[in-house]
Symmetry: C2
DNA sequence: GAAAAACGGCGAACAGGATCGCATAGCGGC
DNA sequence: GCCGCTATGCGATCCTGTTCGCCGTTTTTC
């Protein structure tokens, strides 16, 4: 791993398609944008998607992500394993869809309970608490999200990264408001600060999802990080 | 993923051994602690390990981690694929071994160039720079290390986590010294601070390894995080 | 120095995610 | 009512990490 020779990427550089691969390109279902938009006619597909999702949800809960076989998910959804790939690009995507929804909920919940009168630090802590609560409900959520980001050329990676970005954006908004209110030093770069905050939570969650600390310990660790970031280390 | 039902873990809960599995337990080579310690007489094994490692190294560089097949590695090392498992518990371990070595080198390099007279912030930046340089030489290094930590019950995960811990420990040492020298506020918790610093670097590296920022951008991002942590956000 | 135990290697097999090629169904246009 | 298009489904198959059971070799033990 020492010299920066050439193609060192996690992705198998070659597309590894079977040589015969001539699935007329335009009709390849794996190009995830449906050509015909679903105006209500494609009922069967939507029902299948719902069934797949439900089955995946249940099995993930019962056996964990890695314990839930695609074939088992498919069976419970009442179809063959390969059919799942008509609706989803990878197994991970099944979980990430869920994560995206829960994120949305968490953000909404924050918006509904946010008090702009509170100090910036309080608001940040509140935001991270809501986020924390959502994520610690299911270990796999953080875990598989993280794992996805180790597959740079998979679509699911970009999806997760986008969620991360959105989270950072929301944090930046809070900080921005705080800076305007003279709650924060005027020369902080809110985006960088938001990133730092987010990364601290991410790191704490690694420890939690590996069972090194309890959910509460994770929360404490996040709070400690927030405090340091706000107060600084220097005297 | 909503309710905290029961067994929701990434690991397939059941050990999934084949029912017949009665590999006399005591003689199972997969229990990675060799019964007999290598005092120099077990030459064949050591040569094999070296060949495997070399082959893996080359192929990872040529094709990337995911692109390098175990069968290919084995072939280049002149043995069957299954034999590799006499020496290594998983493919990931092959890369992590490398990472551990490079870490050691990086830490040594830091020790050799560290100037205790410098400010704590300078020393931290130097430490992280050395670390950064080492890690950005190979994208897979950070990537697969991260991926490993998403498999909590695998040995390789614990190995990586230990490396993380050691890094945090070294950072904490620097901070501790800084606190003694009144370089830092006396009431900072050095361990928490070190964790926060480390997590910021980890987060920046996710962005880098996904191609969102250049190596230099990653470095800048880390530095920005360090600055925020030292100076604090509050005015 | 012989039995016991650990080492190290092999080919077959397994599991599980993903892909292929073909078949069918639903819909709009004519 | 037929055509053509896309969506959806299926079973076989691929690929790859990993495990199994077996066996020859080396080291330890007594």
């Amino acid at each position: 791993m020492a010299s920066p020779t050439t193609t060192s990427s996690t992705a198998s550089a070659a597309p590894r398609k079977r040589a015969t691969g001539n699935r007329s390109e335009a009709s390849d279902p794996r190009s995830r944008v449906p050509r015909r938009n679903d105006d209500g006619r494609l009922v069967r597909g939507r029902k299948s998607r719902a069934r797949i999702r439900q089955a995946a949800l249940e099995l993930f809960r019962e056996k964990g992500f890695d314990g839930a076989t695609l074939r088992a998910i498919a069976a419970r959804a009442g179809m063959g394993a390969s059919s799942i790939y008509r609706h989803v690009a990878s197994k991970e995507e099944l979980l990430i869809e869920e994560l995206a929804d829960l994120q949305e909920d968490a953000w909404a919940q924050f918006r509904n309970t946010d008090e702009r009168a509170h100090s910036t630090r309080q608001r940040v802590n509140h935001f991270l608490d809501v986020q924390h609560e959502m994520l610690t409900r299911d270990r796999d959520l953080s875990l598989i999200a993280m794992r996805s980001t180790t597959k740079p050329d998979a679509a699911v990676s970009r999806r997760v990264l986008a969620l991360y970005d959105r989270t950072i954006g929301l944090l930046a908004e809070i900080l921005q408001m705080g800076r305007k209110n003279k709650d924060l030093s005027p020369n902080v770069n809110v985006l960088q600060a938001a990133q730092a905050l987010f990364h601290v939570t991410l790191g704490a969650r690694i420890a939690w999802s590996n069972g090194l600390v309890s959910a509460e310990g994770c929360r404490k660790s996040i709070q400690a990080g927030v405090n340091i970031l706000f107060e600084g280390l220097e005297k």
